[in-house]
């Protein structure tokens, strides 16, 4: 178990509150329900692992929490997400973009690094998106962070020149450069061997401890789930109580 325990948070106010989330996609004119009324509360500083099989709606849930997509409205889907007291449904597109830039750090299974940019640029671009131009201090912070992540000698390298573990460390540095209060990780170790995956989780753990960040990790790995404060199981679009 990493960070503070579930018991300590039981009486605290939820930092992230998701209630009755529905999400249906239309594929080839067929409606495919992915989330069927998911509710979730995460306390500030808590790390929750969302466990489930492929297609259970884990990633969709993460996208909704991160403001990359919106839950269904009307009918059964009257879902609501609030983060730190802010109702995401009330945010217009531009505000939702700002929310992602300022409050959320995404880590993806496939890293999603920009291939034309160097390691350093891939990290600093998140700061640029958040604040426009960046100063020497931001650049220095990125260099320092990459040094801590063991990539001090790879700053000018392109993603194609890195191993999977190195790429994920770069992606992690990009997610953390703006010190977001909420970290959303989608299978962060899914493409890595256990040892490298462990290193990534250690880095996430260290960041969370240092900054009291709230974290939701989507995984199908029990090993990863065991390191979270709490585990939520998603089965066919609903939270399983079993």
């Amino acid at each position: 178990m990493i960070g503070v325990g579930f018991g300590d948070l039981a009486t605290t106010v939820a930092y992230l509150h998701a209630a009755n989330l529905f999400k249906t996609y239309t594929l080839h004119r067929k409606r495919v329900p992915v989330l069927r009324g998911v509710s979730l509360e995460v306390a500030k500083g808590e790390c929750v692992a969302v466990l489930g099989k492929s297609g259970s709606g884990k990633s969709t849930l993460l996208h909704l929490l991160g403001g990359l997509d919106r839950p269904d409205r009307g009918g059964a889907g009257a879902g609501k997400i609030s983060v730190d007291g802010v109702d995401l449904a009330s945010l217009r597109f531009r505000s939702l973009d700002r929310y992602r830039a300022q409050s959320v750090g995404f880590v993806f299974q496939l890293y999603h690094l920009l291939p034309e940019l160097s390691v350093l640029e891939n990290v600093t671009i998140a700061a640029m998106v958040k604040g426009g131009s960046i100063g020497a201090s931001t650049r220095g912070r990125a260099v320092e962070m990459l040094g801590e992540f063991g990539l001090g000698d790879r700053l000018a390298h392109r993603p194609a020149e890195l191993s999977g573990g190195e790429r994920q460390r770069v992606a992690l540095a990009r997610a953390l450069i703006n010190t977001p209060p909420l970290l959303l990780a989608d299978e962060p170790t899914g493409n890595l061997d256990p040892a490298t995956g462990g290193q990534i989780l250690d880095l996430l753990d260290a960041f969370r401890n240092r900054n009291s960040a709230t974290m939701v990790i989507v995984t199908h790995s029990m090993d990863v789930a065991r390191r979270a404060d709490r585990v939520v199981r998603l089965v066919d679009g609903v939270v399983s109580t079993a």
Partner: protein, 516 residues
């Protein structure tokens, strides 16, 4: 900021933007070269015509109008508007050419001294000794360069300036004609732009045979048959006149060079009975064109007439401004000669005070329309470049879908993502346009040497001076045109970038991230 960073990377790391910039550059070059040449062609045509015919003509055809000398004095009073004015008589004639052909020509009676103040007539006189060859005459085959002909050519030039030449060698000088260089058909223009005089021409004869005729027009004579009209517009009788040809002129406007013969003003005035004098007999019932109901009595002095007064604008005065000034002066002039000159309302309603451009509206209009049509076609072709850029950007955005998803995930807005491609299009447009305009300038400035090279190396002469008015292809790039074409290149590029940019902005982040 991140848009600039990404643009820097995309622009330097891919071949596609280079191709897009190249497409913009080629289109820009193509449009600017054609516009410069066609526009230069039109400008030269206008300048040439203006130089030959003055800026404004006040015209009353056939019968002409009296007191033209007073009108000229009134016009020349305001030196800030008028540089000079000259009387001209214009009429039609049947010309018997030296080889017995009959051609219809326009005869212009000019007063050499004042005519030279109004139009650049002297510089159009073709036969004169020369030391410097025409630009394309690299082999110096122009007969005017031959020092053995210098004396004869000098004589021809002097005869033209005096508008007189002896009918036979050694005889007394008599009023002479100056014919347009295409009138006699003696002189044939070479590819280099000069006229040959060395070859004798064979002319068909009525008996089926051919006759060799001399090919130097200033050695020949021309017979002009004209119909004079009295001040009432009635023809009097057919008047023939034989004129030695003093010289030939070339304006570069084929219609003028083919159909115009200049003769001395007083001589023509006399032939057409427009020289004034005392009316000996007069029918009381006659119609007076300008003062009906006021018949002239026997013994009244009728003033001399001219059909046209040509006016040259002072420096900096536009033809249209001069035309307005001439209209104003004509009203004052007509008020001073009531019943003696055409009323101003008739002159104005018949549009008889005209700029050179108005007089030659058909020719100028045709060239203008041709230029506009060619440009329109080229703009349309250039618009294709927009679609090329659209296609290139569309492909790039498809390739970058995942990256767009990533950018949206880290907080980039739809507008911010669109901005990447708009800036990209702008940069490609600017680079392409700058390159294109620079290339066009190099081509236009060197278009004549390039054309020469094409002719020498490949036998490809697109601009044949035997066909076109000018020996040289216009080779000046107007800065305003370059600016318009350059900005259009940028605009087309931006237009091509907008649709893909909107597509990028409209991408759903989740779909983009999941794009395979």
């Amino acid at each position: 900021m991140y848009q600039i960073l990404l643009n820097k990377k995309y622009l330097t790391g891919k071949v596609m933007p280079l191709l897009a910039a190249l497409a913009v550059a080629l289109c820009t070059t193509m449009v600017l070269v054609v516009w410069s040449v066609m526009g230069g062609f039109l400008s030269t045509l206008l300048a040439q015509g203006r130089a030959m015919m003055g800026d404004v003509a006040i015209h009353w055809p056939t019968t002409g109008f009296a007191h033209y000398d007073d009108l000229i004095s009134r016009l020349e009073e305001d030196k800030s508007m008028v540089a000079g004015a000259t009387p001209v008589i214009e009429t039609l004639a049947m010309a018997s050419l030296p080889d017995n052909r009959i051609e219809g020509v326009q005869v212009k009676g000019i007063d050499a001294a004042s005519y030279a103040r109004v139009v650049d007539f002297d510089q159009t006189l073709w036969w004169r000794p020369m030391t410097e060859a025409l630009p394309r005459d690299v082999e110096r085959r122009d007969p005017r360069l031959d020092p053995r002909s210098a004396e004869r050519l000098s004589q021809a030039l002097a005869d033209a300036r005096a508008m007189a030449r002896p009918m036979v060698p050694g005889g007394p000088a008599v009023p002479a004609a100056i014919t347009g260089i295409e009138v006699t058909g003696y002189s044939r223009r070479s590819r280099e732009g000069f006229y040959n005089i060395n070859e004798g021409l064979l002319r068909p004869q009525p008996d089926g045979g051919v006759k060799s005729v001399g090919s130097f027009a200033p050695d020949a004579t021309i017979t002009l048959r004209m119909v004079p009209f009295d001040e009432g517009g009635r023809e009097v009788s057919l008047v023939p006149g034989v004129f030695p040809i003093a010289n030939e002129f070339r304006t570069g406007v084929y219609d003028i060079d083919k159909r115009t013969v200049f003769v001395e003003f007083k001589k023509l005035q006399e032939m057409l009975k427009m020289n004034g004098g005392t009316v000996v007999t007069r029918d009381q019932a006659d119609n007076d064109l300008f003062a009906a109901g006021s018949p002239k009595a026997t013994g009244v002095v009728v003033p001399a007439r001219a059909t046209t007064v040509l006016v040259r604008a002072a420096a900096g005065v536009s033809p249209d401004a001069l035309r307005a000034h001439c209209t104003k002066v004509y009203r004052q002039f007509a008020a001073a000669h009531v019943r003696g000159v055409p009323p101003p309302e008739m002159v104005e309603s018949n549009n008889l005070i005209r700029t050179w451009e108005m007089q030659n509206a058909t020719l100028v209009g045709a060239v203008k329309k041709e230029t506009a049509m060619v440009l329109l076609l080229l703009w349309l072709i250039s618009f294709v470049a927009s679609f090329l850029i659209l296609a290139i950007f569309w492909a790039m955005i498809s390739e970058k879908t995942k990256d767009i998803g990533t950018l949206r995930a880290i907080g980039a807005s739809g507008a911010g993502v669109a901005g990447i491609w708009i800036i990209y299009g702008l940069v490609i447009g600017v680079i392409g346009s700058v390159l294109g305009v620079a290339l066009a300038c190099v081509i236009v400035v060197n278009i004549n040497p390039i054309h020469e090279w094409l002719g020498t190396a490949l036998g490809l002469y697109v601009w044949d001076p035997r066909v076109y008015y000018f020996t040289q292809i216009p080779s000046k790039v107007e800065p305003v045109r370059a600016l318009v074409v350059g900005l259009s290149g940028v605009m087309f590029s931006l237009v091509g970038a907008i649709v893909p940019a909107v597509r990028a902005a409209a991408m759903k982040p989740v779909s983009a991230l999941r794009f395979e």
